[in-house]
Subunit: 480 residues, 2 copies
């Protein structure tokens, strides 16, 4: 493809993208296709000769769009938001053109340096304790991971390396394997599935601890679990505090957990994957109280801050343990400047890395902090608008405090009736929600997700839910 | 940013990108900046109010480009190639607009289904054994990982899960931790650093085995290591065969290793990160002999097949063990179609995943197999052209057989003189190479990397190397 064709192709794609996004409301949010739908639509092998880019443009509506779940539709209320913005797309064009692999400083100094600076900008926007910022001149600093799951795993592996070293100082005769067999990590039973998975991947025991009546993990619960495990000769080494759980957007008391973790010399990692973006608004920072006690902090600008996936921001007060845990240093990756700037390959699981900080740079500059704050506040207001609609209908109940952009609600009554309700909602496909369950109570999660979301969308989504509730309740009364 | 500004911005960026790439030869391939160069060029915090996108365009040359190592310059001969192409950039625009997170089939069926089909197209292009292909109707199939390092780790974790289960059948009283303490994995001492790192991450013993005079790992070496380890009560479970090592593009004898691995019930993973792309040309497929004996196979279209990073293709004959090793299945990720299509989140370390198969689709269709083959063959021919230049100069020697696009060479004489030569070459910054060392012999690696590379570039790079060699040899004779 020559440069002129590329320019035509990119122009047509930009046109397609704006048409798609500006009219996304008109599409059925959930596709109706069955598994295997695409196979008959495509040849069984790659073409020998080049095709025309116009054929691809045609095939987007024929092959791809019928199978797309439209995450950026204002009718999409599933999971949590994922980010999408025009500046993010253009930043990725530049990233794809420079296409450097930023594993070391020398492999593209701009890629490393912009990341250091953007993580400082971002850390300041959240008012993170300065020990986390590279600009503070200490050991601390930030890094872009692909996902929060990777951040949780990286922190766990750093914590594991730190604890093994500490234990060996006291027990030089113990093998690594003996020590690993005793290691135990903790999180709330409400933590994201990827937290438990990090334990599986890291090969250590992981305890999912009980929460209080507001679904928060408390310091004394952690302290008690540690006490019991130490009695049995085990070695507590890592605890994850979640700010904004996926189930119900609950906030662990990291201020309490942090005190325990610091006292017991246990690594505290904070997973604020979704909620972290809200901390750019001062009025929500009370939710991150205790962050100064943590060893690592992570949130996803690719969720709620309009930076296209993937861009998971992680800060470490002292990255030494993570760096040393992974450090394999062959000659072909060495360079003269080692030590004077981060070689980010030591901070992550993969070796290669894209120039992702460009997305942060473009989004932060082209929105400005004030518009990003506005985006957060608008979503939170819309969640409260939806909450009020639910509360005004006596058939429904709210099952968890609405703090940010998630509303957890259900029909009063059995789990079955709520499962039916969700099945009807997703079956109709006009809006999309996913469920969750806490203490065997099944409920529906309504997340405000789209950057196009307006009050009228909230009203329409509620109308759709009420309609499906009418149907479910009607059927129930008939079958009685 | 509204849709009209986006279209203007994207158009200007496409213009910038073509100017950058079509004239990339004119830029110094290695930047001259020092660590910390960027800090004074940028404000210390994000702007409160939005800026104009034109300011960003201006800042690309002021802030970013001075610190870019130009990986796509024909003067770049370091590491291995990384991919970059116009179709890849446009595909990422669409991916960034749809911006779905394809962790389950339902989260965007098109994202999963196009990936299944593209991995089949790609597998057929390489003539992979059909057990690896989803279209064969068996258990096998492909997945896009971020990097080869992740593929190596995923395979290791699958192998670990499989072996633990097998051992437990024989020794139900052994704990997981006891078994893990006995597990041992193998690769060539020439394997990529990420292979050894996978052992660190996976918490298992990893042996880097000796190679033959052509830097190939042989079957009997693996068999002997296994024999010794079993004598000591250890449990061999995983071996990585490398096709195209980073050090010297050597090819392990996976045909021999596979026989041993199959006999000993050990998982064989093939890492063909760089060389795999060459197998789309039938004349290079002799190098992958024995692939039918492997459990998993990986190569990086994002290296040498013009699919922009990240796109690392991995196939598994039986993904069950990998899926089960990682499986954590919360309600909010469940869906009705589970089991009838892959839920790729179980196949990888992170939870989230982008719509990366679009890049494959665009590149394969817009180049066609014949142009991708031409790209590979051109680079191999240019490597041989460079090899001939080296061989014609009696001061130099070739240190490893030139098979694909990498030439390993050195000045006859000490390591010191070669280190000086490389320092001079990279110091001048007209071309960029990195070194390696095998058996204490330091040498220079000349990789043909750029899709813009022409015969004249090879000739110019050689001229530059000869010039720096003249300087080094001159200085040496003066100092004597």
């Amino acid at each position: 493809m020559d440069s002129d064709s590329f320019k035509d192709f990119a122009k047509e794609m930009a046109e397609y993208i704006t048409n798609y996004l500006e009219n996304i409301r008109d599409r059925r949010v959930l596709p109706t296709v069955e598994p295997g739908y695409m196979k008959p639509l495509l040849p069984s092998q790659a073409p020998q000769s080049p095709e025309n880019w116009k054929d691809i443009m045609t095939d987007i509506e024929r092959v791809i769009m019928p199978g797309v779940t439209h995450w950026h539709s204002p009718k999409f209320h599933a999971y949590f938001p994922t980010a999408q913005s025009y500046p993010g797309i253009v930043a990725d064009m530049l990233s794809g053109a420079i296409a450097c692999i930023g594993f070391t400083w020398i492999s593209s100094p701009a890629c490393t340096e912009l990341e250091v600076i953007m993580l400082d900008w971002l850390g300041k926007m959240l008012d993170l304790p300065k020990e986390f910022l590279a600009s503070s001149g200490g050991k601390g600093g930030g890094v872009i991971q692909g996902t929060a799951s990777e951040a949780t795993l990286v922190a766990l592996l750093g914590a594991k390396a730190r604890k093994i070293r500490q234990v060996k100082e006291q027990h030089p005769d113990w093998t690594d394997n003996e020590i690993v067999g005793k290691l135990v990590a903790y999180s709330s039973c409400q933590a994201h599935s990827s937290v438990e998975r990090a334990g599986l991947l890291g090969g250590v025991k992981f305890r999912l601890l009980e929460v209080d009546s507001k679904n928060k993990l408390r310091g004394e619960t952690v302290a008690e679990a540690i006490r019991k495990d130490k009695e049995q000769g085990l070695i507590p080494f890592y605890v994850v505090g979640t700010l904004g759980t996926t189930n119900s957007c609950a906030f662990d008391r990291v201020d309490e957990i942090g005190v325990v973790a610091n006292r017991e010399n246990i690594w505290l990692h904070i997973d604020a994957a979704y909620a972290g973006s809200a901390f750019i608004c001062p009025e929500f920072r009370y939710l991150m109280k205790g962050t100064e006690l943590a060893d690592s902090f992570n949130f996803n600008p690719h969720k709620w801050m309009l930076v296209t996936f993937d861009c998971s921001a992680m800060w470490l007060k002292d990255p030494t343990y993570v760096i040393n845990a992974f450090n394999v240093d062959p000659l072909y990756l060495k360079h003269d400047m080692q030590g004077s700037a981060p070689d980010y390959r030591h901070w992550q699981i993969p070796l290669g890395r894209r120039f992702r900080s460009l997305k942060l740079w473009f989004v932060l500059r082209l929105y400005g902090v004030e518009n990003l704050q506005r985006h957060i506040r608008k979503h939170v207001a819309q969640a409260h608008e939806f909450e009020a609609l639910v509360l005004a209908d006596p058939r429904f109940e709210i099952v968890a405090e609405v703090v940010l952009g998630l509303v957890c609600f259900r029909l009063k009554g059995s789990n079955d009736i709520n499962e039916n309700l969700l099945k009807k909602i997703n079956g109709a496909g006009n809006i999309h929600l996913v469920p969750s369950k806490i203490n065997d109570v099944y409920f529906l999660r309504f997340a405000v997700c789209s950057r196009f979301s307006e009050s009228k969308d909230i009203q329409n989504s509620w109308k759709e839910i009420k309609l499906r509730a009418d149907e479910v309740l009607e059927e129930q009364s008939v079958s009685k």
